[in-house]
Symmetry: C2
Subunit: 93 residues, 2 copies
Protein backbone atom coordinates (compact mmCIF):
# COMPACT_ATOMS: atom_id res chain seq x y z
CA UNK A 1 0.00 0.00 0.00
CA UNK A 2 2.76 2.46 0.89
CA UNK A 3 4.58 1.48 -2.28
CA UNK A 4 1.40 2.06 -4.24
CA UNK A 5 1.05 5.56 -2.84
CA UNK A 6 4.70 6.30 -3.52
CA UNK A 7 4.29 5.08 -7.12
CA UNK A 8 0.88 6.53 -7.93
CA UNK A 9 0.61 9.58 -5.66
CA UNK A 10 -2.91 8.56 -4.82
CA UNK A 11 -4.56 6.54 -2.07
CA UNK A 12 -7.40 5.58 -4.38
CA UNK A 13 -5.05 4.37 -7.12
CA UNK A 14 -2.85 2.52 -4.63
CA UNK A 15 -5.98 0.84 -3.26
CA UNK A 16 -7.15 -0.16 -6.73
CA UNK A 17 -3.81 -1.84 -7.40
CA UNK A 18 -4.54 -4.00 -4.35
CA UNK A 19 -8.18 -4.59 -5.22
CA UNK A 20 -9.41 -2.36 -2.38
CA UNK A 21 -12.29 0.04 -2.38
CA UNK A 22 -11.48 3.71 -1.87
CA UNK A 23 -13.08 3.59 1.55
CA UNK A 24 -11.09 0.57 2.62
CA UNK A 25 -7.85 2.08 1.34
CA UNK A 26 -8.45 5.26 3.31
CA UNK A 27 -9.30 3.29 6.40
CA UNK A 28 -6.08 1.30 6.10
CA UNK A 29 -3.99 4.44 5.76
CA UNK A 30 -5.80 6.05 8.67
CA UNK A 31 -5.05 2.99 10.78
CA UNK A 32 -1.40 2.91 9.71
CA UNK A 33 -0.99 6.62 10.42
CA UNK A 34 -2.53 6.04 13.84
CA UNK A 35 0.08 3.45 14.80
CA UNK A 36 3.00 5.79 14.42
CA UNK A 37 4.02 8.99 16.16
CA UNK A 38 4.27 10.72 12.80
CA UNK A 39 1.95 10.14 9.85
CA UNK A 40 3.22 7.88 7.08
CA UNK A 41 1.07 9.41 4.36
CA UNK A 42 0.13 13.03 3.83
CA UNK A 43 -2.71 14.22 1.66
CA UNK A 44 -1.73 16.82 -0.90
CA UNK A 45 -4.43 19.40 -1.36
CA UNK A 46 -5.41 21.09 -4.60
CA UNK A 47 -3.29 21.10 -7.72
CA UNK A 48 -4.35 20.46 -11.29
CA UNK A 49 -5.42 16.87 -10.62
CA UNK A 50 -7.32 17.70 -7.45
CA UNK A 51 -4.78 16.65 -4.88
CA UNK A 52 -3.32 13.32 -4.06
CA UNK A 53 -1.22 11.65 -1.42
CA UNK A 54 2.44 11.07 -0.81
CA UNK A 55 4.64 9.30 1.66
CA UNK A 56 6.11 11.39 4.42
CA UNK A 57 9.76 10.90 5.34
CA UNK A 58 8.50 8.61 8.12
CA UNK A 59 6.39 6.67 5.63
CA UNK A 60 9.37 6.18 3.35
CA UNK A 61 11.50 5.02 6.26
CA UNK A 62 8.86 2.56 7.49
CA UNK A 63 8.52 1.18 3.96
CA UNK A 64 12.29 0.84 3.54
CA UNK A 65 12.74 -0.91 6.86
CA UNK A 66 9.82 -3.20 6.21
CA UNK A 67 11.16 -4.24 2.82
CA UNK A 68 14.64 -4.70 4.24
CA UNK A 69 13.30 -6.94 7.02
CA UNK A 70 11.34 -8.95 4.49
CA UNK A 71 14.35 -9.44 2.23
CA UNK A 72 16.71 -10.28 5.08
CA UNK A 73 14.29 -12.72 6.69
CA UNK A 74 13.64 -14.44 3.38
CA UNK A 75 17.36 -14.74 2.71
CA UNK A 76 18.15 -16.45 6.01
CA UNK A 77 15.31 -18.97 5.80
CA UNK A 78 15.64 -19.91 2.12
CA UNK A 79 17.92 -22.91 2.51
CA UNK A 80 15.85 -24.48 5.30
CA UNK A 81 12.64 -23.68 3.50
CA UNK A 82 13.83 -25.39 0.35
CA UNK A 83 14.81 -28.40 2.38
CA UNK A 84 11.43 -28.52 4.11
CA UNK A 85 9.72 -28.18 0.75
CA UNK A 86 11.59 -31.24 -0.46
CA UNK A 87 10.45 -33.12 2.64
CA UNK A 88 6.85 -32.15 1.97
CA UNK A 89 4.52 -34.14 -0.19
CA UNK A 90 4.20 -32.78 -3.69
CA UNK A 91 1.07 -30.68 -3.97
CA UNK A 92 -1.57 -31.84 -6.41
CA UNK A 93 -1.46 -29.98 -9.70
Amino acid sequence: MLEGIRDTGSIAAAGRRMGMSYKRAWYLIDTLNGYFREPLVSAVKGGPRGGGAQLTQTGQEVLDRYRRMETAARAVVTADLEHLTKMAKPTQA
Copy 2:
Protein backbone atom coordinates in the same frame (compact mmCIF):
# COMPACT_ATOMS: atom_id res chain seq x y z
CA MET B 1 3.36 -29.03 19.38
CA LEU B 2 6.28 -31.11 18.11
CA GLU B 3 8.35 -29.86 21.02
CA GLY B 4 5.56 -30.86 23.38
CA ILE B 5 5.52 -34.38 22.00
CA ARG B 6 9.30 -34.60 22.19
CA ASP B 7 9.21 -33.43 25.81
CA THR B 8 6.17 -35.33 27.05
CA GLY B 9 6.03 -38.40 24.81
CA SER B 10 2.31 -37.90 24.46
CA ILE B 11 0.06 -36.13 21.99
CA ALA B 12 -2.57 -35.56 24.67
CA ALA B 13 -0.04 -34.02 27.08
CA ALA B 14 1.52 -31.91 24.33
CA GLY B 15 -1.96 -30.68 23.42
CA ARG B 16 -2.77 -29.83 27.03
CA ARG B 17 0.36 -27.69 27.25
CA MET B 18 -1.07 -25.68 24.37
CA GLY B 19 -4.61 -25.60 25.72
CA MET B 20 -5.91 -27.98 23.07
CA SER B 21 -8.40 -30.76 23.41
CA TYR B 22 -7.17 -34.28 22.77
CA LYS B 23 -9.22 -34.40 19.58
CA ARG B 24 -7.82 -31.14 18.28
CA ALA B 25 -4.26 -32.18 19.10
CA TRP B 26 -4.67 -35.44 17.19
CA TYR B 27 -6.20 -33.62 14.28
CA LEU B 28 -3.27 -31.20 14.17
CA ILE B 29 -0.74 -34.03 14.18
CA ASP B 30 -2.68 -35.89 11.53
CA THR B 31 -2.64 -32.76 9.36
CA LEU B 32 1.08 -32.20 9.95
CA ASN B 33 1.88 -35.81 9.13
CA GLY B 34 -0.16 -35.46 5.96
CA TYR B 35 1.93 -32.53 4.71
CA PHE B 36 5.16 -34.47 4.65
CA ARG B 37 6.39 -37.50 2.76
CA GLU B 38 7.30 -39.18 6.03
CA PRO B 39 5.32 -38.89 9.26
CA LEU B 40 6.63 -36.47 11.88
CA VAL B 41 5.11 -38.26 14.83
CA SER B 42 4.73 -41.96 15.45
CA ALA B 43 2.41 -43.51 17.95
CA VAL B 44 4.06 -45.94 20.33
CA LYS B 45 1.82 -48.85 21.13
CA GLY B 46 1.51 -50.62 24.42
CA GLY B 47 4.04 -50.33 27.22
CA PRO B 48 3.41 -49.84 30.92
CA ARG B 49 1.77 -46.42 30.46
CA GLY B 50 -0.45 -47.49 27.60
CA GLY B 51 1.56 -46.16 24.69
CA GLY B 52 2.43 -42.66 23.71
CA ALA B 53 3.95 -40.76 20.84
CA GLN B 54 7.36 -39.70 19.75
CA LEU B 55 8.95 -37.65 17.03
CA THR B 56 10.33 -39.53 14.08
CA GLN B 57 13.71 -38.53 12.68
CA THR B 58 11.79 -36.48 10.12
CA GLY B 59 9.78 -34.83 12.88
CA GLN B 60 12.94 -33.91 14.75
CA GLU B 61 14.48 -32.47 11.59
CA VAL B 62 11.39 -30.41 10.76
CA LEU B 63 11.33 -29.08 14.31
CA ASP B 64 15.05 -28.21 14.23
CA ARG B 65 14.81 -26.44 10.89
CA TYR B 66 11.70 -24.57 11.95
CA ARG B 67 13.33 -23.32 15.12
CA ARG B 68 16.49 -22.39 13.27
CA MET B 69 14.50 -20.39 10.71
CA GLU B 70 12.62 -18.65 13.49
CA THR B 71 15.81 -17.75 15.33
CA ALA B 72 17.63 -16.60 12.20
CA ALA B 73 14.71 -14.53 10.94
CA ARG B 74 14.28 -12.90 14.34
CA ALA B 75 17.98 -12.08 14.51
CA VAL B 76 18.07 -10.29 11.16
CA VAL B 77 14.96 -8.19 11.78
CA THR B 78 15.65 -7.17 15.38
CA ALA B 79 17.43 -3.88 14.70
CA ASP B 80 14.80 -2.64 12.25
CA LEU B 81 11.99 -3.88 14.45
CA GLU B 82 13.36 -1.97 17.43
CA HIS B 83 13.62 1.12 15.32
CA LEU B 84 10.05 0.74 14.05
CA THR B 85 8.88 0.20 17.62
CA LYS B 86 10.45 3.51 18.59
CA MET B 87 8.65 5.19 15.69
CA ALA B 88 5.33 3.74 16.83
CA LYS B 89 3.05 5.42 19.30
CA PRO B 90 3.39 4.06 22.81
CA THR B 91 0.63 1.55 23.48
CA GLN B 92 -1.84 2.38 26.23
CA ALA B 93 -1.07 0.58 29.49
